[in-house]
Subunit: 239 residues, 3 copies
């Protein structure tokens, strides 16, 4: 589904909405008590806030584009256990800036990227698959996944988690990539979600080759649990 | 929805049911092995047990009335990640008493309060908002949120969590209140739920003023994600 | 519901599917980078992987039969917060073996046991109950629950968690059993799920007697929350 047309909302803090029950907002001058409670440095007078019920990978990769494109920093990336009854996460991402226009711009860029980053998300009644790729990782991907800054970086996500294990092995074997991380329901990196996430860097062609191989395998496996539903992209594949 | 009429259940341990798939029970003499396993002091021979699929704030504020009104103590407050596919919590609350009639009474009072404490819960397909207020916090609110005993105390809850951030800032600015806590999906205080909870005390008028301001903002924001559904109270607003 | 007929899946790694959106797979030679990332000893060249959206008890008890019946070890038992919007868990279980035929056999045995181990799972719109029993616990039950190896062992599970508390007390009183563990939403042993799990060992008759008593009580309690639905076994009761 494409991003929804935002409802007219008169609050100056409201920026927009997007796919995945995503909402973007901005606070021009964060209350000092909240600065303390959120453990955010007061030099970030303004914050941009983006949250969603569904999607962590799409949001983190979109946030990465936002920090590349704007004069802001990513302060918080948290992954609630959500997806509205599904097997994965939602997200809460907070940008910091000295100026509200920069915080707003970060939110706008992030929201505008989400249709693209949902492009390799595939779901059926039994679970979901997700693939993300960037030619050059920046600070959001470094903060969330430990991605080496400036390098090509990708992730494969499979739910139920068992499918993610096999996709990880497939990605590791398909090309010469460096393993950056492996997250599973109980070992950290997820919020007890039913996903395995595999993270890897390398040269651009290798990272994409690994994703293509894992995507091909993952679709066949997830299809066995719900044979009557065709696994289609949520928007348009981009990798 | 009002509390369901309890089904005739012949077990002496059964007390009643209420909104939110809530059930209340009592054990007159807890088995010693269970006392140990639950890490509950044996002086509490009797326990009252209230659990729900949906609702943590409503249940904790209702439990607070129960400990005020009865000769019991609140021993356990746990917040499962639940709401039946929604973004928030369920609850498990255990009262201890030396006498079973006291434990039963605590459960009865708590169940009877739930229709009121669900009064400022608002939901749509995209998320939910929750507001709670008491003129005088007691031991359940102290245990769950660190509320100063005897003071007016309130919470704002927004899901997806991003909306809760903006509501927290709104509440902090709307009146002179003291921040007691801030809970988010990944920083503790939630069970990786897609909520931000802001907790504050102050004088009674200030706490209510902050809640009113946050409620006004939250409804506008949550409405942008599901414009066709009117945000109505689950029961009847009380704040 | 019985196990689904597996879709024809051409991947050599695919083994089969079963009830609970369960999938079983095998990797003949795990990639060395994945061995490291998963923290699995390299002597297990081959792994069997079974994951599900719904069910932890049924899967762990089925895995226990698999390790008894095959030349494999259970390396990973993780319990995601899942059940597709329900109150409980899914599962991720990994077997290790030196030889792929042993890993495959473990997966096959486990999948074949699931119809039986779902036999004492009862659900309605408000929650679920689960009971499991073995005359002789082996390594999977020891790893997951601390079950004494070689002894009769059982668990009772109630959701919402409050019902599980009363079932635990009922089981502890019904026969002479030894408490092995008690897991609740916030005290560990669950993944913030809305369940209380009670684990106990003893002689075979006592363990079964405790389960029968808890099952009788649990069905009456869960029925009060959804009086119009009869609580029936997911497959066929076995205890």
């Amino acid at each position: 589904a494409p991003a929804k047309a935002p409802k007219a909302c008169q609050l100056t803090e409201f920026v927009g909405t997007a796919i995945g029950n995503t909402i973007g907002m901005v606070i021009a001058n964060v209350d000092p008590a909240l600065h303390d409670a959120m453990k955010i440095d007061k030099k970030y007078r303004s914050i941009g806030i983006v949250g969603a019920r569904t999607g962590a990978g799409p949001h983190i990769f979109a946030a990465d584009e936002a920090v590349k494109a704007t004069n802001s920093e990513v302060l918080v990336i948290e992954l609630p256990r959500d997806t509205e009854g599904g097997a994965g996460h939602g997200s809460l991402i907070i940008f910091g800036a000295a100026d509200v226009s920069d915080a707003r711009r970060a939110v706008e860029v992030m929201l505008s990227e989400l249709d693209r980053t949902f492009g390799d998300v595939y779901g059926n009644a039994a679970g979901h698959l997700e693939f993300q790729y960037t030619a050059r990782a920046s600070f959001a991907l470094n903060k969330a996944f430990g991605a080496p800054i400036g390098q090509a970086f990708g992730i494969t996500v499979g739910a139920p988690a068992a499918i993610g294990v096999l996709m990880a092995d497939t990605a590791a074997k398909a090309a010469t990539v460096d393993t950056v991380g492996y997250a599973s329901p109980g070992n950290g990196g997820t919020s007890y979600s039913n996903e395995v996430i595999y993270m890897f860097s390398g040269d651009s062609g290798a990272v994409r080759q690994s994703i293509h191989a894992a995507r091909d395998v993952g679709k066949q496996l997830l299809g066995t649990l719900d044979p009557t539903t065709e696994l289609k992209s949520t928007t348009t594949p981009y990798i």
